[in-house]
């Protein structure tokens, strides 16, 4: 059980961590462009925000996987 629990914890951690990295990479690019666009035209704030948070779903998937794994452990 101890090893299983450890592996599950490891898997959960990887799910969140890697998904977070992926989301971060994607948001970095979108965010840069969004800020640039906003500097030109402030009205684009709303649209920029929407575009910027789209990749964020990736981390939520990772988190959900982690939670599902975690509930198996407890």
């Amino acid at each position: 059980m101890a090893i299983e629990a450890g592996l599950i914890a490891l898997g959960a951690g990887l799910a969140v961590g890697l998904a977070g990295l992926g989301a971060g990479l994607a948001e970095k690019d979108v965010g840069t462009a969004a800020v640039g666009a906003m500097a030109e035209n402030e009205k684009l704030f709303g649209k920029g925000l929407v575009l910027m948070v789209i990749p964020e779903t990736i981390i939520i998937f990772g988190l959900v996987m982690a939670i599902l794994l975690w509930t198996k452990m407890v």
Partner: protein, 664 residues
């Protein structure tokens, strides 16, 4: 409430002698959205400003210059001045104001100029103070050249080697030098100096000892600074005395200019003017009546068209677009800016403001769900709504206030916790308010037959059920989104299009949910797979019909977008996840403060309290950011994309806003 107001396009024609009164009337009615007259219309030109414009703008110019001199800025809470009083005294007041301040401002400017001159002189003379020579000794030689300036390295040794006759003076820190050298050797000397990082400082055209000159400059600067302070004080007094009048007069003149320049947006022939404008249909009778009462038959009004909502896309050019007037009753109108942030709704689509104002606070409350944070949210939001005037801050205050109310509701009944501690004692052996305060707080309050829960779920221990609830909320949210989309397309293109574009997605959503429920039983509860299950059959049928409809309407892209729907639904799991992360952080701080440090007693209790306070402050701020952003993101990304296009033209009627003046 949901659909923007019905607009009619109105034509007003009259003779030019009535123009001024017409413009006044248009501003009074506050329901006329002017259409800029096209400049190239045959037989017409653009109107010219009313005569009042030039005089008023001249005065305005003078007034603004004086405002700048006095440093008058916008003020709050001043008693407005009556227009008739203002009009009567305007010219005289501007004149006297001018007289009073012009002398002061003029002399202040002169002194400031002199001060900057002195500053320059001081900078020039300062380095020479370090050398023991009078300024006259630096000039007037026939056979000598004089170099004065800064050096980076000491040039004396090199000079001695290569130059016969010279005299070198150096300041104490060795950075400033004066070199006297015979003319025939000056080139060589200059070369050496340059090698030692020489940068020249010219000798000031004054005579006498440099330190004396510096003293007198400093003394003069001091007296000038004093008189500037005096003058500033005078100006300060003048500002206090005249600010109210100046602001009111500026506003008044501004309004006059604004009105007088309105004809620039109208069409005109030699003797007549022509106005085209959008008016909300329900205001048209009022407009017509007002014109009849004021001008009788002398002005002609006609409704050119009643703008339909159907099929407007792409058939009209931009300048011909009907403006969008949205009026939401309180408190929904507080959320309007959130929609505006994306863009104004189109004339032929539903305004999502009321729906956002219901869903957003619920989402926010679910994500934070803690009485301890909810109460400060409500207080902050309330203060913000009272004090703030800018749209951005008011919207943030609105989000905090209503989000806070739901935070308290969910925190009290659903999660039963404050500052991450549950009220009732828990079976998991954590600290709770019950164990902390030593009183037993029940899980339920019995009110007659009604049993009100104080904490149904724990954010950390009931993760599965909370995820399940989040996904259901997502499904409902998306369902509403597709219904709105269905209505929007029906309004724009008719029922047939709506069925193919949006009903298909509604069916797909329903089908997917039913199938999902059936499969959940099989996968999670390990029941046998029964193909005749109502949910299975119904789900499959709905899904297949939906896909076929979608395929007919939009082609194969429907199939490609199917995974998108699943990811949309999953996206709502953040409702549970963010609550969980907050609870996790709170748990950590509470454990550190209460279980690990506080038992130390004495000073440790104070330390524990400080950690508790700082930790929760941090979570509180994070809660605002994450719950606020994620709450609004679910609206913008998941919800809006199901129905919202935006890009409408905001209704912007001619109207006058007075702050410092008041009409009689």
């Amino acid at each position: 409430m949901l659909l923007p107001e019905q607009m009619v396009r109105v034509l007003v024609v009259g003779s030019k002698d009535l123009l001024e009164r017409t413009v006044d009337l248009l501003y009074e009615l506050e329901c006329v959205h002017l259409i800029d007259f096209p400049a190239d219309e045959e037989g017409f030109t653009l109107g010219s400003p009313l005569p009042a414009a030039s005089d008023a703008s001249q005065k305005l110019l003078r007034l603004r210059a004086m405002q700048k001199d006095l440093g008058i800025e916008e003020m709050k809470g001043i008693e407005p001045i009556r227009i008739d009083v203002l009009t009567r005294e305007l010219d005289q007041m501007i004149e006297s104001l001018h007289q009073e301040i012009s002398d002061v401002v003029e002399s202040k400017k002169k002194i400031e100029l002199r001060l900057s001159e002195l500053e320059q002189e001081r900078k020039n003379i300062e380095p020479f103070v370090g050398l023991p020579l009078e300024l006259d000794l630096y000039r007037g030689y026939k056979s000598l050249d004089v170099f004065t300036g800064y050096v980076k390295l000491d040039p004396e040794g090199v000079l001695r080697e290569s130059i016969e006759k010279f005299e070198l003076f150096m300041s104490k820190d060795g950075k400033f030098i004066a070199l006297f050298v015979a003319k025939e050797e000056s080139e060589e000397a200059q070369r050496i100096l340059v090698q030692h990082g020489f940068s020249e400082v010219p000798v000031p055209l004054k005579s006498g000892k440099p330190d004396r000159i510096l003293e007198s400059i400093v003394a003069e600067e001091e007296t000038l600074r004093k008189s500037i302070a005096d003058l500033s004080e005078k100006l300060e007094k003048l500002r206090e005395k005249h600010a109210t009048f100046a602001l009111a007069a500026e506003e008044h003149l501004n309004i006059i200019v604004q009105k007088a320049e309105t004809p620039l947006r109208l069409g005109a022939s030699v003797h007549s003017f022509i106005i085209e404008a959008w008016v909300p249909e329900r205001n048209f009778e009022q407009l017509k009546k007002a014109f009849d009462e004021n001008f009788g038959e002398r002005i002609y009004i006609e409704v050119l068209e009643r703008r339909e909502r159907k099929g407007v896309d792409g058939h009209h050019e931009e300048e011909d677009e009907a403006p969008v007037k949205i009026e939401n009753p309180k408190p929904f109108n507080l959320f309007e800016y959130l929609v505006e942030l994306i863009s104004t709704p189109k004339y032929n689509e539903l305004d999502p403001t009321p729906l956002i104002s219901i869903f957003f606070p619920i989402f926010f409350g679910l994500m934070v769900g803690d009485v301890g944070y909810g109460i400060p949210f409500v207080i902050l939001g309330y203060l913000g709504l009272k004090k703030c005037t800018s749209n951005e801050w008011r919207t943030i205050a609105t989000m905090l206030f209503f989000g806070g109310i739901f935070t308290i509701i969910f925190g009290l009944f659903m999660f039963g916790e404050a500052f991450g501690l549950h009220f009732a004692s828990s079976s998991h052996g954590e600290i709770t308010w019950s164990s902390l305060l030593g009183i037993e707080i029940p899980h339920h309050i019995e009110l007659g037959a009604l049993s009100i829960p104080l904490g149904l779920y724990s954010k950390l221990h009931d993760v599965k059920i909370l995820l399940y609830i989040s996904v259901w909320i997502g499904i409902i949210h998306l369902f509403v989104g597709y219904v709105l989309g269905f209505i929007n397309v029906t309004i724009r293109h008719g029922l047939k299009h709506a069925v193919f574009e949006k009903l298909c997605w509604l069916l797909i959503l329903i089908g997917a949910v039913m199938l999902g429920l059936a499969l959940l039983d099989v996968l999670v509860l390990s029941k046998p797979l029964v193909m005749t299950d109502v949910r299975m059959v119904g789900g499959l049928v709905a899904l297949v019909i939906g896909i076929i409809l979608g395929f007919k309407g939009e082609g194969a892209s429907v199939v490609l977008e199917l995974p998108g729907l699943v990811s949309n639904i999953m996206s709502y799991s953040r409702l549970a996840a963010i609550g969980m992360s907050k609870a996790g952080m709170a748990l950590a701080f509470n454990m550190i403060a209460i279980e690990m440090i506080a038992p130390g007693g004495g000073v440790m209790i104070a330390v524990a309290f400080a950690i508790f306070a700082v930790g929760h402050m941090m979570i509180f701020i994070l809660a605002v950011i994450s719950a606020g952003l994620h709450g609004i993101r679910l609206q913008y990304v998941e919800f809006f994309t199901k129905f919202y296009e935006g890009g409408g033209l905001k209704f912007n009627p001619l109207r006058i806003r007075r702050k410092y003046t008041m009409e009689v």
